[in-house]
Symmetry: C2
Subunit: 319 residues, 2 copies
DNA sequence: CGGGCGAATGTTACCGATATCAAGACATCG
DNA sequence: CGATGTCTTGATATCGGTAACATTCGCCCG
């Protein structure tokens, strides 16, 4: 910047102002200096600016990823969520710092202007951990009554309710829920499901499964038949679970959807390609990401921000 | 740091040295100062350090994402790749800056110490664009003879060849390839496939499909039967294509794998849950990510670095 | 006993930007 | 015509670290 100043025959500060589109400089000098900057490939030094401005223009996104192997990040938090976040933040001039949960104390994270937490649903303690940093923070997941974070998520309650509605409307009377009610988001799906059914005097069977894997779905259905339970509809908390369930059903001689209706959750492309094509509840992740980003930015800006749930919609395919 | 210095009764620089584990300070003072820092919750200011050190300790990861909607990032570049990158970089003290292709000129990207490009396979021009920044750069994808970037990818050639081998070993003689040979990675899968078959005097039918969607797979198979082509094996370049193909085959009255063998690519969890479970070629993304990270770090370090292809392996399931 | 050497710590300058306050040029006004 | 105000630009200090060079001190050795 000093060099540019010399070239333009002005002082450093004038260059700074010109490049920052400050109204304090004549439009003439501004343009002259900007042209000069372009010509010489001048690059602003972000560290210097951040140092002086005492902010980092960075939002840290903390993703829950089991480190090596295990559950990959395939299922619950697809990249489109990250895509939405990234798109929105960078277009606001912010950088996106990606970290996993395990470098919590990371200096770079602490230096961020704001935090977005993804996939912390299971670990409320993790949320508290980051809370201590005292940074503007937005969490993806389910809203819970007794804590005060800003939460963005899809309306899991409504998602569950819409499945119940569908089951009722096609005459199903013995529904089963497969999922993990300890997980806040899943618990809400369950609540929506149960409440809607309760309105019609029906109480679903709850089948608790911790894993979201295919095998888990298979096993769930097998256990149902082992216990000789009567059922005609399954609401699985993820597409993978649903696919596992269908697989087991077919193996056991049931037909889908004639004997048993099955609905999954997430609307993964692979679910759509399943045979038969899976009915499922869709969440709009891209938009969720954009919303998350906008909320942190608002918080950083000091504006009041409220939690928000995005609507979901039931995609009825062949199951 | 100045405050800490006052508290400890030493100078700033001694504090700096103590916290940086420099051998220039007595272990006694070092520990005293470190304890003091912990006690008072001292936080290093990264901007200041980066400014002084003239480096950002940051690697930018540039991801090809269609902005709004369209193909989400589900299919080709799963999060586990990012996970591997992030894990490796942060444990080396680096930050991961996530950006999409569309904020190319981004000041933060230019300030990074290194670049990792993901999903640029289709856009060789994008690679050149970033090349101009003159930063250490590593690209995920297929190695091509006529450019000089450091490339990490999975061995698509070998992947294709292994499918061919399998087809031959089970007596298939009329194989079809579905994919987009303009895409470098896919082209190599095709080459591996074709070369291996050629060794046995067989020439596969090439069915060019640009999209990696389910519908595209369906359509591909329909066009085959419309043209009354004889075929007994399909190698699809993605699991989704394969699932679409199978779906169409079943609709058209073929049985899989009796009439037609089908193999996909990527080993997605959903492919494994498909009915019937999909045979596919697996790539180890997590490891790919870690390798990418290690290579950029080595480049930043000034060490010589070579491209590297990771082995793939064929997972034979029911198709 | 003084010069020399090494270990521990300190002084000063600097990285590259921006905020604050000051100053010069020029127009307006009583 | 001098006072006042507006517009544009500049000098200086500062953000929080670290490198280079300087200093102090104790010890060894001839």
């Amino acid at each position: 910047m000093a060099d540019l100043a010399k070239l333009a025959g002005v002082s450093k500060i004038t260059v700074s102002r010109a490049l920052g589109d400050s109204p304090l400089v004549t439009s003439e000098t501004r343009e002259r200096i900007q042209a000069l900057a372009r010509k010489h490939g001048y690059k602003l030094n972000l560290s210097a600016r951040n140092l002086r401005l005492r902010r980092s223009h960075t939002v840290a996104v903390i993703v829950e990823m089991k480190p090596s192997s295990g559950r990959t990040m395939w299922d619950p938090y697809p990249l489109s969520l990250l895509g939405g976040i990234s798109q929105e933040l960078t277009s606001a001039g912010y950088s996106v710092l990606l970290t996993t949960r395990h470098d919590a104390g990371n200096a770079a994270v602490r230096a961020a202007d704001g935090l977005i937490l993804l996939g912390q649903g299971v670990h409320q303690d993790a949320v508290k951990l980051y809370d201590r940093l005292g940074l503007p923070m937005v969490v993806w997941g389910a809203e819970s009554a007794h804590d005060s974070h800003v939460v963005v998520g899809s309306d899991n309650r409504q998602g569950g309710a819409s499945v119940a509605e569908r089951f009722l409307s096609i005459g199903r009377r013995h529904p089963v829920f497969i999922g993990n009610s300890d997980h806040p988001e899943m618990a809400q799906r369950l609540h929506g499901f149960v409440d809607e059914l309760a309105g019609h005097g029906i109480k679903p069977l709850l089948l608790r499964r911790v894993d979201w894997t295919l095998e888990s779905g298979v096993e769930a259905v097998r256990s149902l038949t082992r216990r000789k339970v009567r059922f005609d509809a399954i609401f699985a908390c993820s597409d993978l679970l649903a696919m596992g369930a269908i697989r087991a059903l077919v193996e056991l001689g049931f037909t889908v959807p004639n004997d048993v209706s099955v609905v999954g959750y997430d609307d993964t492309p692979h679910g759509a390609g399943f045979l038969p094509p899976l009915s499922t509840v869709r969440q709009n992740w891209q938009e969720g990401g954009m919303l998350l980003a906008r909320k942190v930015l608002a918080l950083i800006d000091g504006q009041p921000v409220a939690s928000q749930m995005l609507p979901t919609n039931l995609v009825v395919r062949a199951t």
